[in-house]
């Protein structure tokens, strides 16, 4: 059963893969197929040519006084023409296969990436980055080999085999049956070996994954390894998993390697059988000597391409495994967006909000109703939570009964230990995750109704993990507003106090940084990501430990800039240092997913509860 399912799945994967080829490259593929057929026939003709040449052109000339080489010359010239056609076809299909295979790879990569952009955050949170990346490299690589080499070879081999099979059948049925019996044996053997081989190839991929994971962990912690003189121990552990990989790799390759000699020698066995049976038949006068000789040639012509095909098997097996992983990514369910409320530019006319095409700096929610009415609500940045329940997994609730209301322009802060659910709350506002029960409203609109892109556009986020991109400093800040002018970029940097350190860099705003921001300190990276948010200039801002690595002196200046920026806007703050949230309008103390205390700084201090404990250092936070 399971094996059947497996096979059915493999077939589906193959079919789907070929679908990419036939989708855009029908014409080219047709030319390729024709070219392969022609070049396969040229191959077959080429092997027969010499017999024909000797029997029909050379033998008649023997013993002649003045042999006329004219016809012989002509036939050689004709043959030259045929060969030329073969060469041209060979080049043609090789060349076109490059277009097709690279084109398909390009299509697949694009589809993967574009699809990946639409996947929910959950997808990224539940996988290692190395694993996702390896789909783009290792798995796509396996396809290249298969598309450009294996498929043409298998096709051309099949054409040759069919041609030979027809020739065999027309010569003698019984001998053909012998050959077919041999083919069945070959199939059985290759199934056994191929099965073992692909089992170990799968194991090999798993072990590669383990090695990958270990290398990744150790590389990330390499500096700790150095500081602790831990090199020897880390080498020892690496050896263990590296040996395991070596073992599965050896087995997978071994089964794949012995496939070809097995096939070829079963072929040889068949040859002997045909010779013996044919010999007996000819002694009894059932078969002519000539036809047995011809048939034996066919047996050879039949087994050779089979051997070639079997050699391609491990490429195909690997590619199938790769394709499966690729399709898994492409089939991953997209983030659903059933929202219909959109964000539009607006202006105020006679006290009413009216939609406009110009950039007025005023935004409104365009809300089409079921009865055909469309209402406009001015974007203000009010956020309300009503009895919100949430868990990342079905049965593991993280947040219980969260109810809170942030009015326009308020600063709302969350404090509490790791795992208390602070970051989770911010993940819900922008719908990185959807709540299970309760309601979140944004300007009185249920956020489920708002189009995700528009919802997120109205929310700025600065995270502890800064996530910069390879490119210049300017490009990185401009990520907040793609069409910002240089002056706007500089202004945003000045506002967030990043300008000072940027000016000190060798190339200023044009300094190229790498994604992990090597050469910049963690604090500098945070300043850049704040500048990026400042340029974006959203009505609601979420700061998740955004200044945790900035020294207190700089933080104070950043804070001032931020306060300027946030005037009249709603801010959610998760802070590392309580000093930065003291001026909040509302502070929520979270514990195990519940709000246990709320109020402003003075109220909470007066309460002498958990907040007071945190503030005085009696209780630890992070």
């Amino acid at each position: 059963m399971e094996q059947n399912n497996q096979k059915g799945k493999k077939r589906k994967v193959l079919k789907r893969l070929l679908g990419y080829v036939t989708k855009h490259y029908k014409l080219q593929l047709a030319v390729v197929l024709v070219s392969i057929v022609i070049s396969a026939f040229v191959g077959v003709i080429g092997t027969q040519f010499i017999k024909y040449l000797i029997d029909d052109f050379i033998v008649p000339l023997l013993g002649q006084q003045n042999p006329d080489f004219g016809p012989l010359k002509n036939i050689i010239l004709i043959m030259a023409g045929i060969y030329l056609a073969g060469i041209v076809c060979n080049y043609l299909y090789n060349r076109l296969m490059i277009n097709i295979s690279q084109g398909v790879l390009n299509d697949i990569r694009t589809q993967m990436f574009n699809h990946m952009q639409k996947l929910p955050i959950r997808y990224f949170d539940s996988r290692t980055h190395g694993d996702i990346m390896s789909t783009y490299t290792n798995d796509v690589d396996t396809l290249r080999e298969m598309l450009s080499q294996s498929i043409p070879m298998v096709f051309s081999a099949s054409v040759t085999m069919i041609a030979v099979l027809i020739a065999m059948l027309s010569t003698n049925l019984y001998l053909t049956l012998v050959v077919l019996a041999m083919v069945i044996l070959m199939v059985l053997v290759s199934r056994y070996l191929g099965g073992n081989s692909s089992r170990f190839f799968v194991k090999q991929q798993e072990d590669i994954g383990k090695v990958n994971g270990y290398i990744e962990e150790m590389m990330e912690g390499q500096k700790v390894v150095k500081v602790f003189n831990y090199e020897e121990e880390s080498k020892k552990r690496f050896d263990t998993i590296n040996d395991q990989l070596c073992d599965s790799m050896t087995r997978a390759n071994m089964y794949a390697n012995i496939l070809m000699p097995c096939i070829m020698n079963i072929g040889n066995l068949g040859y002997v059988l045909v010779a013996v049976i044919g010999g007996i038949l000819s002694v009894n006068g059932i078969l002519t000597i000539g036809s047995i000789a011809a048939f034996l040639q066919y047996v050879k012509a039949f087994t050779n391409p089979l051997g070639q095909v079997s050699q391609q098997m491990n490429f195909i097996v690997m590619a199938m495994a790769g394709a499966e992983r690729i399709f898994d990514l492409i089939d991953e369910e997209e983030e659903v967006d059933e929202g219909y409320v959109t964000l539009v530019n607006a202006k105020i006319e006679d006290g009413k909000v009216v939609e406009t095409k110009e950039r007025t700096g005023i935004w409104a929610w365009k809300h089409p109703h079921k009865d055909g009415r469309t209402t406009y609500t001015r974007l203000r940045g009010q956020v309300e939570f009503e009895n919100v329940q949430f868990g990342y997994e079905e049965n593991k609730r993280i947040l219980h009964d969260i109810t809170l209301a942030a009015k326009e322009g308020q600063k709302i802060s969350f404090v509490g230990a790791t795992g208390a659910g602070k970051t989770t709350i911010t993940n819900l506002i922008n719908r990185f995750y959807d709540i299970q029960e309760g309601k979140i409203r944004y300007d009185r609109i249920n956020i489920q109704k708002i189009k995700k892109a528009d919802l997120r556009r109205s929310l700025g986020m600065v995270l502890q993990d800064t996530s910069l991109f390879t490119g210049t400093i300017k490009d990185n800040i401009r990520y907040g507003k793609l069409d910002a002018t240089d002056e706007e970029v500089y202004a945003a940097a000045k506002l967030s106090n990043a300008d000072q350190f940027i000016q000190h860099l060798a190339h200023g705003y044009d300094t190229v940084i790498t994604g992990n921001g090597e050469g910049l300190s963690q604090g500098q990276r945070q300043l850049l990501s704040i500048a990026r948010a400042a340029l974006n200039n959203p009505p609601v801002l979420i700061l998740d430990e955004a200044t945790s690595s900035i020294d207190t002196r700089t933080e104070k200046i950043v804070q001032e800039g931020m306060d300027k920026l946030m005037k009249g806007r709603t801010v959610f703050v998760i802070a590392h240092r309580l000093s930065t949230i003291k001026n909040s309008d509302l502070i929520m103390v979270l514990d195990h997913g519940r709000i246990i205390e709320r109020g402003n700084h003075e109220e909470l201090i007066a309460k002498k509860g958990t907040y007071y404990g945190l503030y005085t250092g009696a209780i630890e936070i992070d």
Partner: protein, 581 residues
């Protein structure tokens, strides 16, 4: 390059040599088998001699069994040799990386190292297997075929002796054209990987700024780039097979023409001509094989270079000859130290400039300074994670460059700003500090670091399993485990690089108290943002843009140092509870 790479065959030398040996034997059988087949047809079938056919048939089956045996053996040894070779390459790279200094680590990105150790090794491994299996098979089949042709007709063999070198030149030309193009492809590939990696790790930023389209456009650009350059490289290689066919077909036609003349002239038999043609096909087949290997090798060459880059990278910090193996005490001094990061293009862009410091054994030193003031850089010089550009750093009166690094780093424990815990239990993580530490020792260190309490609250206590990066303990707990790990080393110098930032002030104070009482002779250097963490230090160093702005006790600095005063006031004002002890 081949020579350098060949070194890593090591214990698989036997398998590596046996593979081609069995391939040769297999090829010999493969050569004998067609001769036997020819006899079956030419003698057995022609004469209708079933007995002869059976005789030859038995011989043929024996040959086939031998061929199968040799084939299986060669396949087995090839698999063993190539997988083993790949293992050794990975091992060599990993070991080498373990010997890297910080500077070397900074040079390669994690993702690039991973690709090099997996994809690139796989490419080289495939090429290696091809070389030991097919690189022998091809030429042997060719030589055999050529010998047969030679034995039949010297005249005709000349055709091959001319054609094959010509073909060789053509192939060489193609290869030299293709190689730089493949190199370009791999560089583009790296870029593509980078875009994917950054996108994946920054996905929250991408989504919250709604920049999916922007990212897609960015990816499309590099993806098309890869597509174009790959096509360009493969286009060159596509000439391989037609070039070969052209050569061989020309040979066949020439042979046919000349052969016909010879036959008609009576100096050759028709059977001989058809044999020669058969051998010509065999030569073509072996050439085809060779060209396949060729393409693989061309592609693997770039990968091999990337592997060698890792292996040949010189660790920028190495032991001196006859290094000092014992650190006498924890006194530290900096003399006119200046430091420039080696990847800094501007050699005058000092991260540290003219640092002079004297720290006595057992002292507690606080370091404070703004973002980018090079606090971490300063302390990194003590365990010689980087070498100074100018001046010298001495520990226990000896220049750090004169120590055996192992000994030096054993004596200097450092808790890094970027704390890393590894997947495994808490005890396993702690034992990084001391390999064979028993539970008692672990507990003692953890008590000192104020970690024992919370660890014992976990259900599995010291056997609690940590996720990669220690994401299942809180930041403050993680920092305390890291401190305990460092204390277990029983160091002469203990450096905490901003490693109590997530610990509450009270616990922080307990840790410092324990330091004072339990390890009084250990020199302690504490980098902190929080004044309260360093206020009671023997000496506080104020760093500003790589220079010492002031040294002294808290009281002295409050009087003399403007920066310190400002920081102090900003933290103490309005939050006097913050410094509670």
């Amino acid at each position: 390059m081949f020579k350098k790479l060949a070194k890593y065959v090591k214990e698989y030398k036997k398998a590596t040599i046996l593979t081609p040996v069995f391939v040769v034997l297999e090829v010999v059988m493969e050569v004998i088998i067609p001769l036997l087949m020819a006899r079956i047809i030419d003698v057995g079938i022609q004469n209708g001699d079933v007995h002869y056919i059976l005789e030859m048939g038995v011989l043929l089956i024996i040959a086939a069994i031998l061929s199968l045996t040799f084939g299986m053996l060669s396949g087995r040894y090839a698999a063993k040799a190539s997988a083993g070779y790949a293992k050794n390459l990975r091992k060599a790279m990993f070991y080498k990386i373990q010997d890297y200094a910080f500077e070397n680590i900074d040079k390669f990105s994690t993702s690039s190292l991973i690709t090099r150790m997996t994809t690139d090794v796989t490419n080289v491994q495939m090429a290696f297997q091809m070389i030991i299996r097919i690189l022998v098979r091809g030429p042997i089949m060719m030589i055999f075929a050529l010998l047969m042709v030679l034995s039949i007709s010297t005249q005709i063999s000349i055709i091959f002796f001319v054609a094959i070198p010509v073909l060789g030149v053509i192939l060489f030309f193609i290869a030299t054209k293709a190689h730089p193009n493949f190199e370009k492809v791999f560089k583009k590939y790296d870029k593509l990987n980078n875009v994917v990696q950054e996108n994946v790790s920054a996905i929250r930023v991408v989504k919250s700024y709604v920049r999916e389209d922007f990212e897609e456009a960015k990816f499309k650009e590099i993806n098309d780039d890869v597509y174009k350059s790959f096509k360009k490289a493969e286009k060159i290689v596509a000439f391989n097979s037609p070039a070969m066919q052209t050569t061989i077909y020309t040979c066949i036609l020439l042979i046919s023409w000349i052969g016909s003349q010879l036959i008609v002239g009576g100096t050759m038999q028709t059977g001989q001509l058809s044999s020669i043609i058969t051998y010509a096909w065999q030569i073509l087949a072996s050439l085809m094989m060779l060209s396949m290997v060729f393409v693989m090798v061309i592609m693997a060459q770039s990968s091999a270079e990337r592997i060698l880059e890792v292996i040949e990278e010189k660790p920028s910090i190495q032991n001196k000859e006859n290094p000092v193996t014992e650190v006498k005490n924890g006194a530290i001094s900096f003399k006119n130290v200046s430091f420039v990061y080696s990847d800094e293009k501007d050699v005058n862009k000092f991260a540290l400039r003219d640092i002079n410091l004297d720290i006595k054994e057992g002292e507690t030193i606080g370091i404070i300074g703004g973002t980018g003031s090079s606090k971490s850089t300063l302390v990194s010089l003590i365990p010689r994670l980087y070498d100074v550009s100018k001046g010298s750093v001495t520990v226990g009166g000896v220049d750090v460059r004169d120590y055996d690094m192992h000994a030096l780093r054993d004596a200097v424990a450092m808790v890094l700003q970027k704390n890393v815990l590894f997947s495994g239990t808490i005890a396993e993580n702690l034992r990084w500090g001391k390999k064979n530490a028993d539970l008692e020792e672990l507990e003692e260190a953890c008590k000192l670091a104020q970690a024992d309490g919370f660890i014992k609250e976990f259900p599995s206590k010291y056997d609690t399993v940590l996720d990669q990066g220690g994401t299942n303990v809180s930041g403050g707990q993680k920092q305390r485990i890291c401190i305990a790990r460092a204390i277990l080393k029983k160091p002469k110098i203990l450096i905490l690089d901003d490693s109590t930032s997530a610990v509450d002030t009270k616990t922080d104070a307990f840790i410092r108290k324990a330091f004072r009482e339990k390890i009084p002779n250990t020199t302690k250097i504490i980098i902190a943002q929080r004044i309260s963490s360093i206020e009671d230090a023997d000496k506080i160093i104020v760093l500003d843009q790589g220079k010492i702005n002031g040294i002294g006790t808290s009281e002295e600095l409050l009087k003399t140092n403007a920066i310190y005063r400002e920081v102090y006031e900003s933290q103490m004002k309005g939050g006097s509870e913050d410094g509670a002890e």
